[in-house]
Symmetry: C2
């Protein structure tokens, strides 16, 4: 069976690496012919919304999925007329718009920060009054890794924020002084079977994920996160892997965003869980039984941003795994990641400190 993947970045590559043992074949669509996926499957070089490329992808595969959430919904709708596209397009549509996302969270009883839609400077003033300070002004669409965001500490920041982002559809969200950030990843298959991974704790810098540690053991938070995740999965009649990122504030989860795909905060599952998020995404969209999502010991994942660490030093760390996406270095670019796994949380933290010493900051 041949699976079409829109996007041939590292997520696409890791999907293919997980799928080859299941005798799946892959065909990628990406604008760059030397994307990481190109080394593990053929690639159609074209834009994500190019009708000819999308038609070719649909014609040459039996099922289409995506690894990149900024695929235009209209493009995917076109593909879906001739080929099954999973996860469902509606999940993609909601995740592409922070306002739709927050409204859905609210409708499903998933706690969110206070938020208001903002389309004018007047609306921004009113929204700041309603939401309170500090708060964050964000573009509703096409924001990722911290781009398209303005932090407002005082009313005087309103004009600066508006100058930076005004014109695009915006959302103002209350700033959450969180104690930590966590994410939950779950899979739902086309048959409705659902499995959740243990919570992972994430550390961001400049809006980009730096470190994930998992499992984040907190039975109460785990239950709450799974409840929220299952509501979303069932709401969408979802198939595939879905991720929710939460803030934890005074012991409570506040949903930040949803990603209808395999997620950077789940890379630890390759070596740190019985079944990886990548394999479970494929099992889910193919309607196969889902794999065990239990953690094997305690894992930490470090993103390599802009510069790769010395491979030899990383591999010299006991139990360390090195993932080099083969991309050319560029500031702020995710070039690879490293994972360490230990039988204890303290052992994991020791290995993590050792790994971090080799990672350029």
């Amino acid at each position: 069976m041949k699976v079409g993947v829109i996007g041939a970045g590292q997520l696409g590559q890791m999907l293919a690496l997980a799928g080859h043992p299941l005798a799946l074949e892959f065909l990628f669509l990406d604008s760059s012919p030397d994307s990481p996926g190109a080394r593990v499957g053929p690639i159609i070089t074209g834009k994500f919304d190019d009708p000819a490329s999308l038609s070719k992808l649909a014609a040459d595969t039996e099922l289409v999925t995506y690894e990149f959430e900024n695929v235009p919904v209209s493009a995917l709708e076109k593909v879906s007329r001739t080929r099954t596209c999973l996860p469902p397009i509606e999940a993609l549509r909601v995740s592409q718009d922070r306002m739709l996302e927050k409204e859905l969270f609210q409708r499903l009883g998933i706690p969110t920060p206070p938020f208001r839609s903002v389309d004018s400077l007047d609306e921004l003033h009113a929204a700041v009054a309603a939401v309170g300070l500090p708060c964050v002004l964000k573009t509703r669409r096409l924001g990722y890794d911290g781009r398209g965001q303005q932090y407002l500490r005082r009313r005087a920041d309103i004009d600066t924020a508006w100058a930076a982002l005004g014109g695009a559809p915006l959302i103002l969200e209350g700033f959450v002084k969180f104690d930590r950030e966590v994410s939950i990843i779950g899979a739902r298959s086309t048959r409705g079977e659902t499995r959740c991974y243990p919570l992972a704790e994430n550390q961001h810098r400049d809006g980009i994920l730096r470190v994930t540690r998992a499992p984040h053991r907190n039975a109460r938070l785990q239950r709450a996160a799974e409840r929220h995740l299952r509501r979303l999965l069932d709401h969408f009649g979802y198939a595939g892997v879905l991720t929710i990122e939460f803030f934890v504030q005074r012991g409570k989860l506040i949903a930040n965003e949803v990603a209808p795909r395999v997620h950077n905060s789940g890379h630890w599952t390759i070596e740190g869980a019985v079944t990886s998020q990548f394999e479970n995404h494929l099992r889910a969209i193919l309607g196969l039984p889902l794999g065990d999502t239990s953690a094997i010991g305690h894992a930490a994942m470090v993103n390599y941003i802009g510069t790769m660490p010395d491979r030899e030093r990383v591999l010299a760390i006991p139990g360390a795994h090195h993932h080099d996406y083969g991309k050319s270095p560029r500031a702020g670019r995710k070039l690879g990641h490293g994972t360490v796994v230990s039988t204890t949380a303290a052992g994991r933290d020791r290995l993590l400190r050792r790994l971090l010493r080799h990672v350029p900051r």
Copy 2:
């Protein structure tokens, strides 16, 4: 870095799957263009001893390895004039000839069954008298998975055995009434670092490996096997993964054969060890630090011979992993394997029994 691999069977495919995260690229040489490796790297279609194909492989890669031990030594010698070939050719040469192999075992103090070289019917009679009955007559070269062997129970079997195999260079070996079969896999890097995996217990049928269970916990046997393995590794100035298969008779190891490559009895290491044999083979030939060879829990691997089991039933087993090499079915052909891992040996054995129920015999 691009690694050339002679042979694009499942071992080559699994090498590439382990190497892609290290940003390695692969180029295969195989006589069949639709071999399993072809889905994870480009393939030069040609015979293993075709000078033009070998030259192309050497020219287009930075390091050459092999996944198939019947590569002609002369072909590899030609490649090695322009490109580093690892594991060392001498290890390949010895492993291709059961007589050289047994003589080396003997020289290094590694116990073997009694054996004699046989090149004529007269020599066979003399060898049977020296070695004793029962015994096994084998071709010295090109035997694998039980092919090219004749079992001799009585002196009357001598003529039948000679009729079947006579003409080729032969070896007569004493038949070992073993209690079990085990194998040890180890890696030695170009820098001389050495690591051994835990012993695995193997069950063969019709000369083909059916089931491996690991780790086979026996501290005394483990120490002895590691001692034997390290002697071989050091003797060859080895780089890469090497496997020794042993019989266990009355608590003692008797070496059966050596394979200078990743090995079927090490497939469990993909999910059942911290670092897989495939990744460690690559680390070893690249001179990188070797990965932790410890077992993660208790694993069992079942080969799928001739017929694949139902994928859904296998994947429904908790913690089961399915490996389909994508080959067309044929009697006696290795088409795939399944692995189960549990935290206890008893749990592993329960999962193994469940898996075996779905595997056509």
